[in-house]
Structure formats: structure tokens, C-alpha cells
């Protein structure tokens, strides 16, 4: 093993040790991914309590089924699939559900999604502190419709393929693509308010 492979090597060996019954190895995997799984769960359920339940259920289920995990795929991708299924199950179970099921068709067509076109600063992240930047990003993604937010989360944050995303959410590939486009454009629009270069407002209506 060369040092450049350390990252993947560590994970593979942790998974192997966990499979052999080393619980401290599994705890390390939990510590490594708990933040990401919690964020994912929260972005789908939009609720801290549900997100915590999803977090626990996902890691416990993954532990239970560790022997089924095929080591040629990435552990995190496998974990994401489990977490997304848990989160979707929880959404469906919600009694007083006002949210639209994620696999329901949404109107992605005629919304005017590009209202403002403005050049961003070269390094807009520098204008905000780390915490403030996170706040902007979280608030912006939470303002998207669930149908768009989940697709963006899986494709662009968790880096699942279009096909994997479609399968997990019970959507067609074209539906995933059209939701992803809307999600990206709407987020772009929101971030533009924070990141645009001061003093050169250009408004365009397409």
C-alpha cells in the first residue's frame, strides 16, 4: 500500500475488522460518517427528531447487515442507500403528513428559474466565516421543494449516479435529470444573492 491509498485502505480494513467482530472498528466508521448521515437524514426529513432516528436506524441496520456488504463497492455509498431508505420510510409513516411524496410528479417545466444573472466574486466563500457559510448553504437547500432538494442531495452532495438516485427514489432517469436541473438553478439563484460581486447588479429576465 502506498500512502496515497491510505484513505481507501483505512476504510477497507475498518470494514474488514468490523466484519470480523471488532466493534471499535465499526465505531470508527460511525464517527467518520455520522455527520454526513445526519445531514442527509435532516435534509430529507426536515426534522431533528426524525433525523436522529434515521441516523441510529441506518447505522444499526448497516451493522446488522455488514456481512452482505460487498467490499468492491464503497462503504459510504452502501450506507447512504440504507439511510435514504430509512428516511423515506419515516416520511411515509408520518401521520399528519403535509409533504408531497418524493416520487410524485412535480411541475418542473414552466417555472421561471433564472431571474438574476450576476457575476460572483472570485472567492465569495471568503466573505463569510465557516459557520455563516454553512448557515447560508443549509438555509438555501432547505428552501427547495423536497422533490428537488433530495435529488440535489443525492446527486451533487452524496455523489450518487443518476441511475442510483432514480432507483432509490423510485423515479425515472429523465425525472431525476429534470429535478436536478431545477434544483441546481434554484440554488444558484439563492446563492447569487450572497455571492454576487458588489456593485455590478445585472438583472436579466429569460
Amino acid at each position: 500500500m502506498t500512502t496515497t491509498e491510505t484513505g481507501t485502505f483505512d476504510e477497507a480494513s475498518l470494514v474488514r475488522r468490523a466484519k470480523q467482530g471488532d466493534s471499535s472498528a465499526y465505531s470508527e466508521l460511525v464517527s467518520k460518517y455520522e455527520r454526513k448521515v445526519f445531514r442527509l437524514a435532516k435534509n430529507i426529513t426536515q426534522n431533528d427528531e426524525d433525523a436522529e432516528d434515521v441516523l441510529q436506524d441506518a447505522f444499526l441496520k448497516a451493522y446488522e447487515h455488514l456481512d452482505d456488504f460487498q467490499e468492491q463497492s464503497k462503504f459510504y455509498t452502501w450506507l447512504v442507500r440504507i439511510a435514504v431508505n430509512e428516511a423515506l420510510m419515516r416520511l411515509r409513516k408520518r401521520k399528519t403528513d403535509r409533504t408531497v411524496p418524493l416520487d410524485e410528479p412535480v411541475d418542473t417545466g414552466e417555472e421561471t428559474v433564472v431571474r438574476e444573472i450576476a457575476v460572483w466574486e472570485d472567492d465569495p466563500e471568503q466573505r463569510y466565516g465557516k459557520t455563516e457559510l454553512r448557515g447560508i448553504l443549509d438555509e438555501s437547500i432547505l428552501s427547495l421543494k423536497p422533490a428537488f432538494r433530495t435529488v440535489f442531495q443525492l446527486r451533487d452532495i452524496e455523489e450518487l449516479s443518476t441511475e442510483e438516485t432514480a432507483e432509490l427514489l423510485g423515479l425515472s432517469v429523465p425525472a431525476v435529470k429534470s429535478r436536478l436541473l431545477r434544483a441546481r438553478l434554484q440554488l444558484r439563484e439563492r446563492l447569487t444573492r450572497f455571492f454576487k460581486r458588489k456593485g455590478d447588479d445585472v438583472f436579466a429576465y429569460l
Binding site: S23, F38, R39, E52, L55, E125
Partner: protein
Amino acid sequence: MLTCKEFLQELSDFLDETVDPGLRNNLEAHITACPNCFVILDTTKRTIQVYKGVDAQPIPEDVHLRLMRAVDRKAAARRQPNAT
């Protein structure tokens, strides 16, 4: 020449580099001629990058502790399948 609307329809696939070479040439020709779409392309690309680049926040300490306890219980149950 593609219209801006046509360009926008292909924006996602263009960013993901999943368009065929012929269409890609047309899209590239469009942004060379259309500053608006150039800016939209650039800022959309950076939108994705900024989300990818920010780590998830640490989870609340009590949530972390409850998770670790649940995992420990599971581990104990794994070692002694007959224990409750």
C-alpha cells in the same frame, strides 16, 4: 445557434459532461456568444462546488452519545446472541 432556453435545458448534462460531442460544440458556441449563459454556467458550476466543498456540521453531542450507546448495545448483542 441554440436559444438561451435550449441552452438551459442542457445545462445539467453539460456540467456533468454527459452530452454528445456535437451538442457539446453547440453549447460551447452558445456560451462564447452569450455572456448571460456564460455567467449562469459558471455560477451553477460554483454552486455545486461550494456544496461539495463544505463539510457537514458536527452532530450535537447528545445525539452522538446516544448513537454510540446504541451501537455498543448492538455490538454486545452480536457477541452474545442469547443475551437481551
